[in-house]
C-alpha cells in the first residue's frame, strides 16, 4: 500500500544535482502500475526526460514515453511525458481563455510573449503551474485529452519551490479580477490539498540536508503539503556498524583478513591487505559523516526512502531498479 494514497500530483524538488530528475522518473515508473496512467512533467527547459529515456527532445505536447514498472504478474501501466515551456504555455493560455485575434499575434510580434515570460513578476511560474494544474484536473475545456491517475513533476530546486507553487502570492500584484486571478486561487486549492505532495530529494551531505530542512520549513510555513524525503546516492552498506568502528579506530585484524583472503583462494600480497584496510578506513569516515546526516534527515520527521548509488550510472534498466525500490519502500 502506498504512503500517499490520495496524491494525484507528486512534486519532486531538492538541491541541484541531488537526483531530482532521476527520482521523478523512477517515481513515475513506480506509480504506473497495472491500469495506471502517469504523466511525467519537466519545466526547466533541460530535456532531462528525453536524455534519461533516450528519446528525441520532447515538444510541448504529451507523448507516450514507456510502460511503467510491471507488478509481480508482469502487468504495467503507461508513462507519458510533457515538456512545459512558458512561451508555449502562454500562447496556449491566450488561445484558450482570450479570443485575442489580432492582438494575440501582436503580442508575439512586439516581443511581449518573451517579456511576459521572463520578467513580468510571477507570470512565468503561473503559466508553468497552470499547465500542470490543467493536466491534473482535466476538465471539459480539454475534451478528448488523456486523463492521468497521477502527475509527477520534476520541479525547480528547493530554493525556488515555494515561490513556484505559491501562485496566489505571485499574482497578488496582478489584476484583482479576471481569469488569471481566479485561476491562481483554484490552483492554490489543489496545491494545498491532500491531492498534492512535495517530496524532497537529498544526499547525505551537509549542504543538501540543510537545504532540505530549510525547504520543509518554508513549505510548511506556506501551507504547502510536504511529502517524503528521498535520500539518494547512498553508499554501499556492506560493513555493519561494529566493523566500521573497528576500521575507524584502526583495530581491524590484518592477519585474520589475510587468512580469509587465502581461504577464498585469492593470491594475497601485503599490498592487497593494506589496500583493503585503507579502503575500509576511508569508507568508515565517509559513512560516519553520512550517519550524522542520516540522523538529521530522520529528525525531519517525514517518511524517508533511500536509493543506492548505482555504480554503473543511470540507464533505463537502472531507472526500473530504482522504481522497484521506491515501490517496495511504499513511496508508490
Amino acid at each position: 500500500m502506498s504512503d500517499w494514497p490520495k496524491a494525484r500530483l507528486h512534486v519532486v524538488t531538492g538541491k541541484g544535482g541531488t537526483g531530482k530528475s532521476t527520482v521523478a522518473a523512477a517515481l513515475a515508473l513506480a506509480l504506473a502500475g497495472r491500469g495506471k496512467n502517469v504523466l511525467l512533467c519537466e519545466v526547466e527547459g533541460r530535456q532531462g526526460i528525453a536524455r534519461m529515456f533516450d528519446v528525441d527532445p520532447l515538444p510541448f505536447e504529451e507523448r507516450r514515453l514507456t510502460s511503467g514498472l510491471p507488478d509481480a504478474r508482469g502487468r504495467a501501466g503507461t508513462v507519458h511525458a510533457l515538456h512545459i515551456d512558458p512561451e508555449s504555455a502562454l500562447l496556449e493560455y491566450l488561445a484558450l481563455y482570450y479570443k485575442l485575434g489580432r492582438a494575440g499575434r501582436a503580442l508575439d510580434r512586439f516581443g511581449i510573449i518573451e517579456f511576459a515570460t521572463t520578467i513580468a513578476p510571477g507570470v512565468r511560474d503561473v503559466l508553468l503551474t497552470g499547465k500542470i494544474y490543467e493536466a491534473v484536473d482535466r476538465n471539459a475545456r480539454n475534451k478528448g485529452a488523456t486523463t492521468y491517475d497521477a502527475v509527477v513533476l520534476d520541479a525547480p530546486p528547493t530554493g525556488r519551490i515555494v515561490q513556484f507553487l505559491n501562485v496566489s502570492e505571485q499574482v497578488a500584484g496582478l489584476a484583482k479580477v479576471g481569469p488569471i486571478r481566479s485561476q491562481a486561487d483554484t490552483m492554490m486549492g489543489l496545491f494545498r490539498s491532500a491531492r498534492t505532495v512535495v517530496h524532497l530529494v537529498t544526499v547525505l551531505e551537509e549542504m543538501p540536508v540543510q537545504e532540505t530542512g530549510d525547504g520543509i520549513a518554508e513549505l510548511t510555513a506556506a501551507d504547502l503539503p510536504v511529502g517524503g524525503v528521498v535520500t539518494n546516492l547512498v553508499r554501499p552498506q556492506d560493513l555493519p556498524a561494529p566493523a566500521l568502528a573497528a576500521a575507524r579506530s584502526g583495530s581491524l585484524d590484518a592477519a585474520a583478513v589475510r587468512a580469509d583472503l587465502d581461504r577464498a583462494g585469492l593470491d594475497v600480497g601485503d599490498a592487497l591487505v593494506e589496500d583493503l584496510l585503507g579502503l575500509a578506513r576511508d569508507h568508515a569516515d565517509r559513512r560516519e559523516l553520512e550517519e550524522t546526516q542520516r540522523v538529521r534527515v530522520a529528525g525531519l520527521e517525514r517518511p524517508t526512502y533511500e536509493l543506492p548509488r548505482l555504480t554503473g550510472g543511470v540507464d533505463l534498466g537502472a531507472l526500473h531498479d530504482l522504481a522497484r525500490s521506491l515501490r517496495e519502500q511504499g513511496m508508490a
Binding site: 544535482g17 512586439f110 516581443g111 549542504m207 554501499p236 555493519p240 581461504r263 565517509r286
Partner: protein, 384 residues
C-alpha cells in the same frame, strides 16, 4: 583496462598560479561539481606561495564560509585568518551578494529619489533577484569592480573567481548577452519610443497591445511596467558598456579559465560544451579539473574476482567477523574498482574528443572540505 585509456596532458596548476602574468582565474562548471571549493583552494595555495590574492566566492557552504571569515555578507573582501604568510603573500575573501551588487549599481547611476523608485519597482525586483543570468552578470560586475580597484591601488595581483551554481557553465558567458538582449528587446524599445522621439513610432499596434495587457494584467501592473521601462534607459545604458568591458577583461591573456567537472556524464558533457565555447569566444582556457574522482585501489584484483571471493567467503560463513569483515571489504573493493573503471572510461572519452585539454584530477576526500586544512589538501591534489 589500461589499453583503451587515452591520457590527457597534465595541467600544471603551480605554474599557472605562480606565473605573475596570471591576473584572473575563473572557475566554471555545472552545479555542485566543486567550483567554490576549487576556487578557494587555488586562492589559498597561491597566497601561501607568495601572491596577493582575493577570492570572490558565491554561496559557499556555511562552515567553509565561517572558516574563511566571510560568513557575513557585506560585499567587500576581508582578510582570511590563518593563511601562512611565510612566502610573502596574503588572501582576502568575499562572498557575492547579488542583489546588493545590483542595487549598488542602480544607486551609483541615478539620483537618490530615482534610485528609490527603481528599487521599489516590482519588475526591478524580479530582474535583480530571479532573472536568469543576473547572478552571473553580477559576478562579472563585481569582478570588474575589484579588478579596477586592484589596478588603481595595487591591492591584489591575483583575483580568483567562483561562478554561480547555474545548471550550465555556459550561463556564465551567456548572461551579459541575455541581459542586454532583454534590455534591448523589441518590447522595451517600443515602450520607450514615445519618450524618445517621433510619435509616429507609436503605432496603432501598441494601442491594441496595451489594452490587451490591461485586460490580462490590470492597470497597476502596466503603470509599474512603464516606470520600470522609463528607468531602464537612464540606469541601464551604462550596463551594456560595463558588460562589454568585463567581457574584454575575460578575453585578456592575463585571464585563465578553469573548467571544473565531476567524473560523470552530465558534468563532462557540460565541460565539453564549455571548452568549445571558450574557444569560439576566444577566451583563454587553461584546463580541466576533474574533481571528486574515485581513487583506484592498488594491486590488480579485479571487481569480478573480488565479488566472487566475497560470495565464496560468505557462503562458507567466513569473512564476517567485526574485526575481519573480509567479505564486506572485498565488496567495497569491487564497487570501488567498478567506479574507477567507469570514471576512467568517461574521462578517456573526454580526452579522446578534446586531446589538447590539460587536465588535473582531484581525488574525492573522505570528508567534506570545510576548513583551511581541507583546502590545502585539495590544493595539494590540484597541483599533484
Amino acid at each position: 583496462m589500461s589499453a583503451d585509456r587515452v591520457p590527457a596532458p597534465a595541467l600544471d596548476v603551480d605554474a599557472l598560479i605562480d606565473d605573475p602574468a596570471t591576473g584572473i582565474i575563473v572557475c566554471c562548471g555545472a552545479g555542485g561539481v566543486g567550483k567554490t571549493t576549487t576556487s578557494a583552494a587555488l586562492a589559498l595555495r597561491a597566497a601561501e606561495r607568495g601572491r596577493t590574492v582575493v577570492v570572490l566566492t558565491i554561496d559557499p557552504a556555511r562552515r567553509l564560509a565561517q572558516a574563511m571569515g566571510i560568513a557575513e555578507l557585506d560585499n567587500t573582501p576581508r582578510p582570511v585568518e590563518g593563511v601562512d604568510p611565510a612566502a610573502g603573500g596574503r588572501l582576502d575573501a568575499m562572498m557575492l551578494d547579488m542583489k546588493r551588487t545590483f542595487d549598488e549599481v542602480v544607486e551609483s547611476q541615478a539620483s537618490p529619489e530615482k534610485a528609490r523608485q527603481i528599487l521599489d519597482n516590482p519588475f526591478y525586483q524580479v530582474l535583480s533577484s530571479s532573472f536568469a543570468g543576473t547572478q552571473e552578470y553580477m559576478a562579472m560586475e563585481k569582478l570588474g569592480q575589484i579588478h579596477a580597484a586592484a589596478q588603481a591601488d595595487d591591492t591584489y595581483d591575483l583575483i580568483v573567481v567562483d561562478t554561480p551554481p547555474s545548471r550550465s557553465a555556459l550561463d556564465f558567458l551567456d548572461a551579459p548577452e541575455r541581459l542586454s538582449r532583454f534590455l534591448d528587446g523589441r518590447f522595451i524599445r517600443l515602450m520607450l519610443a514615445p519618450a524618445r522621439g517621433p510619435a509616429r513610432l507609436m503605432t496603432a499596434g501598441l494601442g491594441i497591445v496595451t489594452s490587451a495587457l490591461t485586460r490580462i494584467l490590470g492597470a497597476q501592473v502596466l503603470r509599474d511596467l512603464q516606470t520600470f521601462v522609463a528607468a531602464i534607459d537612464t540606469v541601464f545604458g551604462g550596463f551594456r558598456q560595463r558588460a562589454q568591458r568585463t567581457y574584454a577583461l575575460l578575453q585578456d591573456e592575463r585571464t585563465a579559465f578553469l573548467v571544473v567537472a565531476a567524473p560523470e556524464p552530465d558534468a563532462l558533457r557540460e565541460a565539453a560544451y564549455f571548452v568549445e565555447r571558450l574557444g569560439e569566444d576566444r577566451m583563454p582556457f587553461a584546463g580541466l579539473v576533474v574533481n571528486r574522482a574515485s581513487v583506484a585501489p592498488a594491486g590488480d584484483l579485479s571487481a569480478d574476482e573480488a565479488a566472487g571471493a566475497a560470495d565464496r567467503l560468505q557462503r562458507s560463513g567466513a569473512g564476517v567477523d567485526d574485526h575481519a569483515p573480509t567479505a564486506g571489504l572485498l565488496r567495497l573493493h569491487a564497487d570501488q574498482v567498478r567506479l574507477v573503471e567507469r570514471e576512467t572510461r568517461l574521462r578517456s572519452g573526454f580526452a579522446a574528443s578534446h586531446p589538447h585539454v590539460a587536465t588535473t584530477v582531484v581525488a574525492a576526500l573522505a570528508g567534506d572540505v570545510h576548513d583551511l586544512d581541507g583546502l590545502r589538501r585539495v590544493g595539494d591534489l590540484l597541483a599533484e
